[in-house]
């Protein structure tokens, strides 16, 4: 049972990738046209990664996350991400302790370098998890950010 579900998840990921590649050829840019509602509404990073077909990401030291160790203001936490993995096509960000951890996916095409700077709201101290897609595989790493004042309540 568990095994068959796994393979379905994996097949789904492969399919998504195939669609992504096909889409990229036909129309550069937004590879998967639709904003992935089920991933964005997932309440855990694991569920979101599963919805994106990234659940099998392997740990990598070739992803750099630059973010403060301690963020005084959780409403605006600057995060710089660089992937040193050859063939990187996208960077996804998950703020594991936020109510909805999946924060976004950034796609690179036609000369864009595998780097992104963003500013995010952190409800509380959380690992910032990054998943990189490169040549059909997923790689991941995380960095803990401590928050003294949360950014979600307003």
């Amino acid at each position: 049972m568990q095994q068959s579900r796994r393979s379905v998840v994996r097949a789904g990921g492969a399919l998504a990738l195939f669609a992504a590649l096909g889409g990229a050829l036909l129309r550069p840019g937004r590879a998967l046209a639709a904003w992935n509602k089920s991933a964005f509404e997932a309440k855990s990073a694991v569920d979101a990664m599963r919805a994106l077909g990234m659940a099998n990401a392997e740990e990598s030291k070739d992803i750099e996350i630059r973010a403060p160790d301690i963020a005084e203001n959780g409403a605006v936490v600057p995060i710089d991400i660089t992937s040193n993995i050859p063939g990187t096509t996208s960077i996804s960000v998950f703020l594991e302790k936020n109510p909805f951890p999946y924060t976004g996916t950034f796609d690179f095409a036609a000369g864009a370098m595998p780097f992104v700077h963003l500013r995010a709201k952190l409800g509380e101290s959380t690992p910032v998890r990054v998943v990189v897609a490169a040549v059909g595989k997923f790689y991941t790493t995380a960095k803990e950010v401590k928050v003294t004042i949360g950014g979600c309540g307003g």
Binding site: P28, G29, R30, W35, N36, F40, A75, V76, V77, L95, N98, P99, F100, Y102, T103, G104, T105, F106, D107, F108, A109, A110, G111, A112, M113, F115, V116, H117, L118, R119, A120, K121, G151, C152, G153, G154
Partner: protein, 105 residues
């Protein structure tokens, strides 16, 4: 109509450094005003083009900070090239702005 974006693009060698500031409340749906929750209102998709060709795009959530700032880098760009950025939010509002890449100092 939302306020225009501020886009700054400078080139060093053949790499353009692009920085975009968008004017948007990015409401999480969790904030309350006068006891009533403020509804979700946030940018969902972003597309950036270099001379009409998409180089950078994103799907994002309400966890991105208010008045979002993003930066990305594009290789193979030169001064005078055009950068166009479009965002679209969950209420169907959108905004497109463009700038010309300037030579770095």
């Amino acid at each position: 109509m939302a306020d225009p974006m501020k886009i700054r693009a400078t080139v060093q060698g053949d790499v353009a450094d692009v920085r975009v500031l968008m004017a948007h409340p990015m409401e999480t749906g969790q904030r309350k005003q006068g006891g009533k929750p403020v509804p979700l209102h946030f940018i969902q998709t972003i597309t950036a083009q270099l001379n009409g060709k998409t180089v950078f795009s994103a799907d994002i959530s309400q966890a991105i900070s208010r008045n979002p700032v993003f930066a990305f880098k594009v290789k193979g760009a030169k001064a005078g090239d055009k950068i166009t950025v479009t965002w679209k939010d969950n209420k169907g509002e959108s905004r497109t702005d463009e700038t010309t890449i300037r030579g770095g100092s």
